[in-house]
């Protein structure tokens, strides 16, 4: 994917810098910014120096303790209740708050890594200075250095804020959440928890959650495939129908379907849940017409799992088809007509044209979007949570129902009765691995990737 940069020969080795450099250069290996200061690069030198001083002060006062506490996540694991005689009340002494310790520990690790990066940058800068002086070249002044930030090194200036944002809002929380999977952070250890290695993974994959994990994973995949395939197929079909010759008021038909899409999803879904209720309008209607003798239990807690799963897929079609329709309409309108024309002259019928000319072209354009939809469906929280809430109940599962996806089950584990944060973190990691693998494999197989 990435082309390797041609390697330039190094200006000088660090060994050479160390052996032939002057005292300031040598000192720079320990005191960052010394060589720069000696060469009157005040801005660069001072920022290196101040950063190192601040880092060392931080290290002494809190960095070391944050890092060492990270290894144990706090030493006091149990609360203590003591009687306060002056107040006449009981006071509880809390265990060490592992959540905070973990957060600051992860932050400290990131800072240390950043500092190592900075040290390497300092060494490079020193080497560059050494080489410039050795070869008798011009050493950039403060002004030139600063000006280059807006010119040659503009990329660095522009990227500074985004990268800081990514580190603070993506990398830090992600590492923090991932590390929870290796602890016993759950409702029994809500404040003081400890590292437990892969125990939580074991629980999910072979322990008390395995009996739920694998069936739910299976249904999640079945659901993602069915939901993606049905919405795509019927969306394309609908688009072709509307676009075909002889259909009047195309705009009107399209608008009607887009309205479904325009209504906020959670409203449509809650409405559907009401509509399909055991005592809901649909059942009442069917009963009144005499089509059924007993109300059909579509999605409630005591429904038949098969009925509920099929219902969910059908309702999802109702919500998802307009989206696919809209996308494929755009593609169909831009299909080259000459190929279709040629096929027709050669005597192909409508189905053959669809199968061999139109459909492959739509698939070619839409394949990446399909993969994205598939991943979206694996994590389709809305449809399941708002429509069925995971119901019907399943007495073989632990905290999940028959229509629960991994992601809704994860939600139950966190916010439900049992509050198993570590197990949820494990699930999150597993969902990521599944999504990443599937999309990577699928994407590399698409024609769009091969030809693009």
């Amino acid at each position: 994917m990435f082309k390797r940069k041609a390697k330039k020969p190094k200006e000088a080795t660090y060994r050479e810098v160390w052996q032939h450099g002057d005292l300031a250069t040598k000192l720079s290996f320990f005191i960052m910014g010394f060589a720069q200061l000696k060469n009157k690069q005040w801005v660069k030198g001072l920022s290196f120096l101040i950063t190192e001083v601040v880092f060392l002060i931080w290290m002494v006062f809190s960095g070391v303790s944050a890092l060492s506490m990270l290894t144990t996540l706090g030493t006091i694991k149990h609360k203590q209740v003591v009687f306060d005689k002056t107040q006449g009340v009981y006071i509880t002494k809390m265990p060490d708050n592992s959540v905070v310790i973990l957060l600051f520990g992860v932050l400290a690790v990131i800072l240390v890594i950043a500092m190592i990066g900075l040290y390497v940058a300092n060494l490079r800068s020193v080497r560059h200075l050494y080489a410039l002086k050795r070869d008798g070249e011009h050493v950039p002044t403060n002004g030139e250095d600063l000006a280059s930030l807006l010119d040659k090194k503009l990329y660095g200036t522009l990227l500074a804020i985004p990268i800081a944002g990514v580190v603070a809002f993506t990398i830090l929380p992600t590492v923090y959440m991932i590390s929870m999977a290796f602890t016993n952070y759950d409702s029994k250890h809500p404040i003081g928890f400890s590292w437990t290695g892969f125990a939580a993974f074991k629980n999910v994959l072979s322990g008390d959650l395995a009996g739920t994990f694998f069936p739910v994973l299976g249904w999640t995949l079945v659901w993602a495939i069915c939901a993606t395939a049905t919405t795509f197929f019927f969306g394309v079909l609908l688009a072709m129908l509307i676009e075909s010759k002889g259909i009047k008021h195309k705009g009107f038909w399209r608008t009607i379907f887009v309205i479904v899409y325009a209504v906020p999803q959670f409203i449509s879904l809650l409405m559907m849940a009401q509509f399909l209720d055991l005592q809901g309008p649909l059942n009442t209607l069917l009963l009144n017409w005499g089509w059924i003798a007993h109300p059909i239990n579509f999605i409630s807690a005591s429904a038949n799992p098969m009925v509920a799963r099929i219902t969910v897929i059908i309702v999802n079609m109702w919500i998802g088809v307009p989206v696919s329709m809209l996308v494929s309409t755009a593609i169909i309108q831009n299909l080259p007509q000459d190929q279709i024309e040629a096929a027709r002259i050669d005597g192909a019928n409508a189905f053959q044209i669809f199968r061999s000319v139109t459909f492959p072209q739509i698939l070619f354009v839409m394949a990446p979007a399909l993969i994205q939809q598939f991943i979206g469906n694996i994590n389709n929280f809305n449809v399941i949570f708002l429509l069925t809430g995971g119901y019907p109940m399943n007495n073989n599962y632990n905290g999940a129902g028959d229509t629960d996806l991994l992601v809704t089950w994860l939600y139950n584990l966190v916010f439900g009765q049992t509050q198993r944060y570590n197990a949820s973190a494990v699930l999150g990691i597993l969902i990521f691995i599944i999504s990443a693998t599937v999309s990577l494999i699928a994407y590399r197989r698409t024609n769009a990737f091969k030809e693009g």
Binding site: V89, L111, M115, S187, I191, S300, S302, P392
Partner: protein, 409 residues
């Protein structure tokens, strides 16, 4: 590399400041005398209760003018006190409302403090024994009880007589009863009627559950029989069915008394649970008994602890319990409040108080394993009701269930 510098600089400054702030906080000390009660206390109650708890707090301030009380609604209602307080105990209220079954795990996790010996004495002497037992965990009291909740039978007097509702079989032969079998709170007590225990007789014994036997099978068999009973209606919205007239009876709790009164009007009828036939014997249908209580957050600063527990004690005294009863229909647990004329003349209150007696209900256990219990019991009950669990599998399913909820964490 400039940017990395900036990050390093910025973050270390932030950390330094946080640490300074953290150090500053812990050094605060308490120097209030025990005689005079003062402090700042935050009180969490349910959204609908805020208005009358403000009145109660006004009464409190007449007696304790130096305590500054802030009444607010709890984020997700008292039923979710455990999770709400757990999210950030330091930011949660100092005094909050909580159902008694959450007291056990909250006490174990250290979110709440035991009552002081003085408070224990007062609460014990003022309130009925079941409510005291309800807030006691491992021989210490962890909450100030103020109301008791047990489900009871509500029916339409135009369709059913007081004689009809004495037995489940007679009742369902004459009219339709609407209820929700997917709710374990409604139907797990059938196991109690069948003669089993949940966490022993005291509700605190880990290995005390004994459902994996013939009695447990009898309970599940009774549930399965209800599916074929045409006059037992499964619905997730019973009040709608009462309103539309499709159903003439339902089982519900004091929180819905006012609503049902509105729906049924002059036909409003209330009675204790009927008898049911389990395993060939006529037995009393039982209910879960819940005690509503106020608890004190253990994260409350030491200097405010006294004020917080004084407030909790005051808002659960007789006068306050009667205000709550008048405003919301919650049944008081204060001995003399229960005997006051308004409560004694209230049929619904009397029915619930009857249900609260030990022969008709079982106190909700406070074990932390109850979380697993709720997750597993509903599918089990519902599975037997719908028939997705075959009669031949009952014994195996009950064994799995019993083992799962009896696991030490």
């Amino acid at each position: 590399m400039k940017l990395i510098k900036k990050i390093a600089l910025g973050s270390s400054a932030v950390i330094a400041m946080t640490l300074l702030a953290a150090c500053g906080k812990s050094s605060s000390s308490s120097d209030t005398s025990s005689k005079k009660v003062s402090g700042d206390v935050k009180l969490w109650v349910d959204t609908t209760q805020v208005s009358y708890y403000k009145t109660i707090v006004k009464n409190f301030n007449k007696k304790y003018p130096d305590v500054n009380v802030k009444v607010t609604q709890s984020p997700n209602g008292s039923a979710n006190a455990k999770t709400d307080v757990g999210k950030d105990p330091a930011k949660a209220a100092d005094v909050f409302e909580v159902p008694n079954d959450q007291l056990g795990s909250m006490a174990d996790q250290g979110y709440i403090n035991p009552l002081s010996p003085d408070a224990t004495k007062t609460v014990k002497s003022d309130n009925v024994a079941t409510s005291v037992k309800g807030v006691t965990w491992k021989n210490q009291m962890y909450g100030y009880p103020f109301a008791e909740q047990a489900q009871t039978l509500y029916y339409n007097k135009s369709k059913l007589s007081a004689e009809d509702v004495k037995s489940w079989d007679t009742l369902t032969s004459k009219a339709t009863l609407a209820t929700d079998f997917t709710n374990a709170y409604n139907f797990y007590p059938i196991f109690f009627s069948a003669g089993t225990n949940l966490y022993g007789k005291n509700g605190e014994t880990l290995k005390g559950t004994n459902v994996a036997n013939q009695k447990g099978i009898n309970a599940l068999t009774w549930l399965a029989q209800q599916k074929s009973n045409k006059n037992v209606m499964q619905t997730s919205n019973t009040l709608n069915q009462l309103k539309s007239g499709n159903a003439a009876a339902t089982i519900d709790g004091p929180w819905n008394t006012a609503n049902i009164k509105k729906i049924l009007g002059k036909n409003f009828g209330v009675a204790k649970y009927p008898t049911i036939k389990v395993g060939g014997k006529n037995v009393q249908m039982k209910a879960f008994l819940g005690i509503e209580a106020f608890a004190v957050n253990s994260h409350t600063p030491t200097k405010d602890q006294k004020a917080a527990s004084t407030l909790a004690q005051f808002i659960t005294n007789k006068q306050s319990q009667l205000i709550v009863y008048k405003q919301s229909g919650q049944i008081p647990v204060d001995k003399s409040a229960q005997k006051s004329s308004t409560v004694a003349n209230d049929k619904a209150a009397q029915a619930i108080m009857t249900m609260a007696k030990p022969e008709n209900s079982v106190l909700m256990p406070k074990m932390s394993q109850m979380a697993t219990f709720w997750n597993l019991s509903a599918p089990l009950l519902n599975g037997s009701y719908t028939g997705s669990i075959k009669a031949s599998d009952y014994s195996a399913k009950l064994k799995t269930f019993q083992d799962a909820i009896s696991k030490k964490n």
